[in-house]
Symmetry: none
Subunit: 211 residues, 4 copies
């Protein structure tokens, strides 16, 4: 008499992952302000009580969700970076593109990132998590830029370039969030590529889009 659909009990960690996924869907659908224990439970098709059972409080679930996104983000760019070999050009392009690859760059997740950013000024815990993840990423980008500038004899400040690159990344996310139809992931990559081609003309080819 086993119900094949979903087991009544599940390993702790798997349940928690389900709930985090449900939280992401709920924030994307209803916004952070309108996300309640009830909306999350409904997305997860589980009862209300289960959230406090696994996360003690709504607040902790939200933090766990942000940590989930952060970890996923870090893992993604670190894996991509490791796979990119040792060439500065490859490394920089890879790092710059990773913001727009699939597991990271889904519209639901962008909505969640912005939801947390929107609350960051008033919530130190969010701000700390967000800053940290951004700092790590930008430090690596900066290091690659520094190397490329040194090799290529460019007249740029590596700190400025890395700041600009990572800023452009989150700025493009905003465009994708606000109007998914007008800017897709490939379009965003092209904006990034044009920026790199402009800053490092000897290393990155011009797209020639205008010809």
């Amino acid at each position: 008499m086993v119900d094949s659909k979903k087991p009544r009990t599940a390993p702790k960690q798997q349940r928690q992952q389900e709930l985090i996924k449900a939280t992401i869907r709920s924030i994307a659908r209803h916004g952070l302000a309108a996300t309640t224990i009830a909306t999350v439970a409904r997305e997860a098709k589980l009862s209300q009580g289960i959230i406090n059972l696994h996360f003690q409080s709504k607040q902790r679930l939200l933090v766990a969700t942000l940590e989930h996104l952060s970890t996923e983000y870090r893992d993604s760019w670190q894996r991509a970076y490791a796979d990119a070999g040792t060439d500065c050009v490859d490394r920089l392009r890879t790092l710059a593109h990773v913001d727009f690859e699939k597991p990271i760059c889904e519209r639901n997740k962008l909505a969640v990132w912005f939801a947390f950013w929107g609350e960051s000024k008033s919530r130190p815990i969010y701000r700390k998590l967000c800053s940290q993840i951004d700092d790590e990423y930008r430090a690596t980008v900066a290091e690659v830029c520094r190397q490329l500038i040194g090799e290529g004899g460019y007249d740029h400040d590596w700190r400025t370039v890395s700041r600009g690159l990572s800023s452009m990344g989150s700025g493009l996310w905003l465009s994708m969030l606000m109007d998914a139809g007008r800017l897709d992931r490939d379009g965003a990559k092209q904006v990034i590529d044009d920026y790199l081609a402009g800053m490092f003309p000897n290393h990155f080819p011009s797209s020639g889009a205008n010809r």
Copy 2:
């Protein structure tokens, strides 16, 4: 013997402006989710009832606040653009810098922008207002870029450049929001200037920061 206290009654529009200002402070301080009628009233040093008296509902106050920011933003760049003369270079630099000028670029207001962006996916009314204001700005930037690219013989797509420029603007806002101490308004302008110098080397001077 002037009584410096505020009068018990005030012109309608002035009261509404006070309340919008108070809303901005409240969102910056507590976040959008934790901004209540009570927190706004406290910021305004007025009673709770006054918000429904002037705005009918909390929701309308929030929309009015977003409209206030939108209008202020549009007025700012349009005035700056009109004052910049007819030179493309001046115009582009002016437009690019206006994001970081004083009435617009206060940390409180950045927090409010991100708060609304964070709810935009689930609130069409916010998304519409935000998209519209961004589209107008970017259309003007794009037009200037198109002209500059044509004059200067650059190999850029003007749409891509304007998208990149405006994205970098909001991305830099995020950095300023998250860690005001590490990136100030002048630092942000320099990132922008370096981008322009990279893309349009014949028109914008290199900052030479690295020399």
Copy 3:
């Protein structure tokens, strides 16, 4: 530059009458529970403040409204009674019909009567006013019944008959309130007349409706 529509000021008593009329309309339209200072002021086309100016409080306005109805009711039946001459039959018919004559028996006023009756159990002030007016009326009816029973040799208790007659009156009001289309003032009078014909067959003619 005289505004011919409505004088800005009016004699005290006239203003109060206007407000009571407006209260009756408001209760009929919105119910007693949903009648507010604002709805009354709107019905009267006057400002909100005027009610407290003339009646000190909403509660007093309501009491004044009930007193107005009571007085109007008493004046009506007393005048009719005085006009009816000295014949018991005429007197009884007149008293019985007065509930369904025009100034008294308007649907708006019936709604107000039932609104106050509905609150009477919990509001001694309403109950007292309502009881009193009913007692006076029924005492007079009872006296006429007593005389008629004595003269006509009927085997009725005059107290019971008068109780029945006045009860039928308010019961018919309920029917008229609930479904004005199905029972009008003439229909109600006929029910009353049939009752009288049944109880006092030697004095009141049968309507012969069934023949």
Copy 4:
């Protein structure tokens, strides 16, 4: 060692019945206008939240309360009618008396009926429920009257008589509501009986109260 306290949780329907009972008590004690979620919860000795948990809104609780009274009323007279046998006289007396039998004719419930009647003009939902219940009852009364009039050769319109009878019923309720001390249930039945004796002298005995 039975714990006499009520259990923390209860079957859904039982809880709802408790809340409806509490609502009746609250309306009787405070009136409909002053009946709040808080007063009902206090009567039920439960928390405020439970009302929205079971009825979604205060409005629905009130409708459910009216439906409860309606159902109880209908069930009562239908059961009594079924038990009365097939004799017209028995049937009519039974129907006429049922208004004044115990489960129906409690002063608290009378207060609730009048409270809803008082709001009926402005609340179609109340009016519909009240009209319906009254129509059903009166239709049955009318049918019995029609039969009795036919059998007994009376010169009455059966519609008029049934209207008068049911009107007298609600009118007597008003007397009982306003002054419970002066008219009790037996007194009311006697008024009804005298009316029947007057209208149908060959079938209903005169009470002879006046002899």
